[in-house]
C-alpha cells in the first residue's frame, strides 16, 4: 500500500476519492483542524504546502476546500473539503497556526462568503471595504448597485485597523476586537497610489525610527471580481479575463485555464499547439522577468536598467504582435489549441532573438549585478528561509531563491516541456540578491527551452476542433502551471453547464505580499521598496 493510502486510512471519518494524483478528502467540519494538523505534521508524508483555500457555495451549504501539496511528493494534490450547513452563522476553525499563508486566505473567504474562522485574530474583509454590504460570492448575493454605491469618502482608518474576531475560550465563543497598531505606534501610509509599490498597493508600515516593526498590507484597490464574473461567463469568455490577472504573464494563466478546461473535456490538443504555446509562455516569462529585473533595479535608483529591460522586452512584443496581434495581451491560447497559426516570420524572429538576448544579458550583468552599491544593498538583506517560504507558499523564483524546488514545469510536466531538457534554477541563500539574480538565470534557461523547441515545431493542425458551445461535464478540475512569479492554479467546479459553477485561481502574488510582511520586519524603511521589487508581485494578480 502506498504511503498516502496508509495515511488516509488513519482518517476513518473521511471519504476519499482519487483521480490520478489528486485526492479529494471530504471530512466533517468538526474534524477540520485535527485532520489538517495530522496531514501537516505527519513525519512520513507531510503536507506542508498549503496551496490555496477555496470558498464554496454549494447552494444549500457553504464550504471550504483546502488544496494541499507536499514538498516530498510535490506532484500529489490533496483537496480537503468540509461543508458548513448553517448559512446564517457559518463557522469553522482556523488553521493559521499550521501554515503562515492561511491568514490572508481565510480573510478572503470570510469577505466573500461570510464564513467566520474561529480563533483567527483578524477577520476583516481582505479585498472589499469594511463597510461593504453582503457577501458577493454567495449565490444569493443581492447585486443591487444601490446597496453598494460608489463610495465618495476615503475608507475610515479606524475601521481599517479594528480587527474583529471570534475566539473559543474553554468551548465558549467570545467576540473580540483588537487593534492592528498600538496607540503610540508611529504608522506611515505607503500607497495606494505610489510609483514604487508596483501598482495600487496600500501598506501601513509601523516604524521604530527607521526600522520597520510591522506591516499591514491593505489590499483590494484593484479587486475586479473576476472569479465571480466568470460564473456568468462561458469558458472561452473567461480566458479573456484570466489574462488580465497577472498581466505580465497573462499568456501563461490563459494557457493554464485552457488546460483545465481541456482536462474536463478530455480534449486531445495537437502537438503543434503544445509547442507553440510553450514557446509563447517562455517568451512571456522572459518579458516578465526583464520587466521585473528592470523595475527592481529602478527601485534602487537605476533608471538605465529599466530602460534596458524595456528595450529588450520590446523585441518580444514585436514577435507577439506579428503572431498574436496583441502586444501585452496576446489573446492567443484557446480551448483546443491556439487562435491562429504562427506568422511565417515567427521562427526566424525568435531565432534571431535568442543570441541577441544572450548578449544583452551579459550587458545587464555588467551594468547592475556587479555594481558595488547594488550588491551592498542586496546582500545580507531580506532573508527568507526555506521553511518559511514553504509555510508562506511563496512559490516561483522567490521560493527557488530559498532552495525550495517548486517548478511546476518539472513537477507536473505539461504542454511541450517534456521535449526540452532544462534545469530548474535553484539557489540556497534566500537573500534579496538571490531573488534578483535568479530571474536573470531563469531568462537563460527559458532561452534554452525555446532553442530546443523552435526548430522542432511539428506540422499539422494548430487547434483541435471544438463545439461552438463548450459544456464541461460535471465534476471538479484542477490544473497547475508555472507562471512567471509562481504557481498558478485553476480550480473549476462544473455542474455540466457552459458556465463554471465556481472558478478559483491561485494567484501567486497574494502569498508574495504576505511574504513581504515577514522579510521586511527589522529592515530599514529605505529597503522596503527594494524588498517589494525582489518579490516582483503584480497587484491585480493579488486582488483578482
Amino acid at each position: 500500500m502506498k504511503v498516502i493510502d496508509e495515511l488516509l486510512a488513519q482518517l476513518p471519518f473521511a471519504t476519499v476519492e482519487q483521480i490520478g494524483k489528486e485526492y479529494k478528502v471530504s471530512i466533517p467540519k468538526e474534524k477540520l483542524y485535527e485532520t489538517a494538523s495530522f496531514l501537516k505534521n505527519n513525519q512520513r508524508y507531510s503536507f506542508d504546502f498549503l496551496m490555496d483555500i477555496i470558498g464554496m457555495d454549494y447552494g444549500d451549504n457553504l464550504g471550504v476546500i483546502y488544496t494541499l501539496s507536499s514538498t516530498q511528493f510535490p506532484d500529489t494534490v490533496l483537496m480537503l473539503k468540509a461543508e458548513i450547513e448553517d448559512r446564517d452563522k457559518p463557522e469553522i476553525e482556523t488553521i493559521t497556526d499550521l501554515w503562515n499563508c492561511a491568514d490572508l486566505y481565510e480573510r478572503e473567504v470570510h469577505g466573500f462568503y461570510g464564513i467566520v474562522f474561529l480563533n483567527n485574530p483578524d477577520m476583516r474583509h481582505l479585498f472589499l471595504r469594511q463597510d461593504w454590504v453582503g457577501y458577493p460570492f454567495r449565490k444569493d448575493y443581492n447585486a443591487d448597485p444601490s446597496l453598494n454605491p460608489i463610495p465618495c469618502t476615503d475608507e475610515n482608518l479606524e475601521q481599517m485597523e479594528d480587527l474583529p474576531s471570534v475566539e473559543m475560550v474553554n468551548g465558549e465563543k467570545k467576540e473580540d476586537h483588537h487593534k492592528m497598531f498600538e496607540e503610540e505606534e508611529y504608522v506611515v501610509n505607503f500607497g495606494p497610489q505610489h510609483p514604487a509599490t508596483h501598482g495600487v498597493l496600500h501598506l501601513r508600515v509601523s516604524l521604530d525610527g527607521e526600522t520597520i516593526k510591522k506591516i499591514d498590507p491593505n489590499l483590494g484597490y484593484i479587486h475586479r471580481g473576476i472569479e465571480k464574473m466568470s460564473e456568468a461567463y462561458t469558458y472561452p469568455q473567461i480566458l479573456h479575463l484570466t489574462e488580465r490577472l497577472d498581466y505580465l504573464s497573462g499568456s501563461i494563466s490563459r494557457h493554464g485555464t485552457c488546460l483545465a478546461v481541456e482536462k474536463g473535456l478530455q480534449l486531445e490538443v495537437p502537438e503543434r499547439a503544445h509547442y507553440i504555446r510553450t514557446i509563447i509562455d517562455e517568451l512571456t516569462r522572459i518579458a516578465s522577468h526583464l520587466l521585473g529585473w528592470g523595475c527592481m533595479a529602478m527601485d534602487m535608483g537605476s533608471i538605465t536598467a529599466f530602460v534596458y529591460g524595456m528595450r529588450d522586452r520590446e523585441k518580444i512584443m514585436d514577435i507577439f504582435e506579428e503572431t498574436c496581434g496583441g502586444r501585452l495581451m496576446t489573446n492567443y491560447a484557446t480551448i483546443g489549441g491556439v487562435m491562429k497559426d504562427i506568422h511565417p516570420n515567427f521562427q526566424k524572429k525568435v531565432k534571431e532573438f535568442i543570441p541577441y538576448m544572450r548578449k544583452m544579458l551579459k550587458e545587464h550583468h555588467l551594468l547592475f549585478t556587479g555594481n558595488p552599491i547594488a550588491r551592498g544593498r542586496m546582500e545580507g538583506v531580506g532573508y527568507l528561509s526555506k521553511e518559511q517560504a514553504i509555510s508562506l507558499g511563496a512559490t516561483g523564483p522567490t521560493g527557488r531563491a530559498s532552495g525550495w524546488s517548486n517548478d511546476v514545469r518539472k513537477i507536473e510536466t505539461y504542454a511541450a516541456y517534456s521535449h526540452a531538457d532544462f534545469q530548474e534554477v535553484l539557489r540556497t541563500d534566500g537573500l534579496t540578491f538571490d531573488r534578483y539574480i535568479i530571474r536573470l538565470d531563469e531568462i537563460e534557461e527559458s532561452l534554452n527551452i525555446i532553442e530546443q523547441l523552435i526548430d522542432n515545431i511539428p506540422g499539422g493542425a494548430y487547434a483541435a476542433k471544438t463545439k461552438a458551445i463548450i459544456k464541461l461535464p460535471e465534476g471538479e478540475y484542477f490544473q497547475r502551471v508555472e507562471g512567471a512569479r509562481g504557481e498558478f492554479d485553476v480550480y473549476i467546479n462544473s455542474r455540466g453547464d457552459k458556465y463554471p459553477y465556481r472558478i478559483k485561481f491561485r494567484s501567486p502574488s497574494l502569498t508574495l505580499v504576505n511574504t513581504l510582511k515577514y522579510i521586511a520586519v527589522g529592515n530599514k524603511v529605505a529597503d522596503l521598496v527594494m524588498l517589494g521589487g525582489s518579490l516582483d508581485y503584480v497587484v491585480p494578480c493579488i486582488d483578482r
Binding site: 479585498f127 472589499l128 471595504r129 458577493p136 448575493y141 447585486a143 448597485p145 444601490s146 453598494n148 454605491p149 460608489i150 463610495p151 465618495c152 469618502t153 476615503d154 475608507e155 495606494p192 497610489q193 505610489h194 510609483p195 501598482g199 495600487v200 483590494g220 484597490y221 484593484i222 479587486h223 475586479r224 471580481g225 473576476i226 465571480k228 464574473m229 456568468a232 479573456h240 479575463l241 488580465r244 498581466y247 505580465l248 520587466l291 529599466f306 530602460v307 524595456m310 528595450r311 520590446e314 512584443m317 502586444r327 501585452l328 495581451m329 497587484v539 491585480p540
Partner: protein
C-alpha cells in the same frame, strides 16, 4: 482661429478624428469674446503649456504597463516634452488614468484629482477607465472614471498601444492650445455629453 490652424508637429488636421467637437468648442470661446491681443498672448502661453505637460504617474493595472512602455526607450514620450512624470498630484497637470478603477479606489482617485492645481486635465486610457471594459458585469468596478471625475480625452483599447496613447496626448495638446488661459478654469461641461443619467451616475456626479 480655427482648429485647422493649430499647429501640432507631424500631425495634420486630417490625421485627427472627430474634429467637429473641438471646432464647436473654439466657436464658443470666440463667441464669449476673446479679443485679438489677448488671443495672441494666449497662443504663446498655450504653446508653452501644451509642450510641457506634466503627467501624474497613475497606473492601476494592465494599461499601466503600456504606459511604462510609453515612457521607456522605444516610444519615449520625452520627445513631446511630456516626460516629467510627477509622483505628487500637486505638481502635475494631467492624470493619465491607466487601468481599472474599482469602488475602493474611487475616492482615492477623486482626492488626487482635487489635489491637482488648475488648470488640470484627465485622460482615460483603456476601456476600463472609459466604461468598465471587460469588467462591466463586475460588482466592484466603477463603470468609467467619468462617474467620479471629468475626462478630457478617451483613448480606447484593451490595452491601448503606446502609439494610441501618443495620439491621445496630441489631442490633449490641441485642446490646451485653444483654451482661453485668462478665463481658466474652463473645463468642458461634462453633463452635455451624457444623455441619460442613471441613478448610479447621479451618485457619481453628486460626489464631484
Amino acid at each position: 482661429m480655427e482648429v485647422k490652424d493649430i499647429y501640432i508637429r507631424d500631425m495634420k488636421y486630417e490625421d485627427f478624428k472627430e474634429n467637429e467637437y473641438l471646432e464647436e468648442y473654439v466657436k464658443e470661446l470666440r463667441a464669449n469674446g476673446v479679443n485679438i491681443a489677448i488671443a495672441k498672448v494666449n497662443d504663446l502661453i498655450n504653446w508653452g503649456r501644451s509642450n510641457s505637460v506634466w503627467p501624474l504617474t497613475f497606473a492601476t493595472s494592465c494599461c499601466g504597463i503600456e504606459f511604462m512602455c510609453l515612457g521607456a526607450a522605444r516610444y519615449d514620450f520625452a520627445r513631446f516634452g511630456w516626460e516629467v512624470t510627477r509622483n505628487s498630484p500637486r505638481q502635475a497637470d494631467v492624470i493619465f488614468c491607466c487601468g481599472t478603477i474599482v469602488h475602493k479606489m474611487a475616492p482615492v482617485l477623486k482626492r488626487l484629482y482635487e489635489q491637482m492645481a488648475e488648470p488640470k486635465y484627465v485622460m482615460a486610457f483603456g476601456s476600463c477607465a472609459i466604461g468598465g471594459g471587460p469588467f462591466k458585469s463586475s460588482y466592484h468596478t466603477v463603470m468609467g472614471i467619468d462617474k467620479v471625475i471629468p475626462v478630457d480625452v478617451y483613448v480606447p483599447g484593451c490595452p491601448p498601444r503606446p502609439d494610441a496613447m501618443i495620439y491621445g496626448m496630441m489631442q490633449l495638446a490641441r485642446k490646451i492650445k485653444m483654451q482661453d488661459f485668462f478665463k481658466l478654469p474652463a473645463q468642458p461641461d461634462m453633463a452635455k455629453y451624457k444623455e441619460k443619467e442613471t441613478d448610479l451616475e447621479k451618485l457619481g456626479n453628486e460626489s464631484n
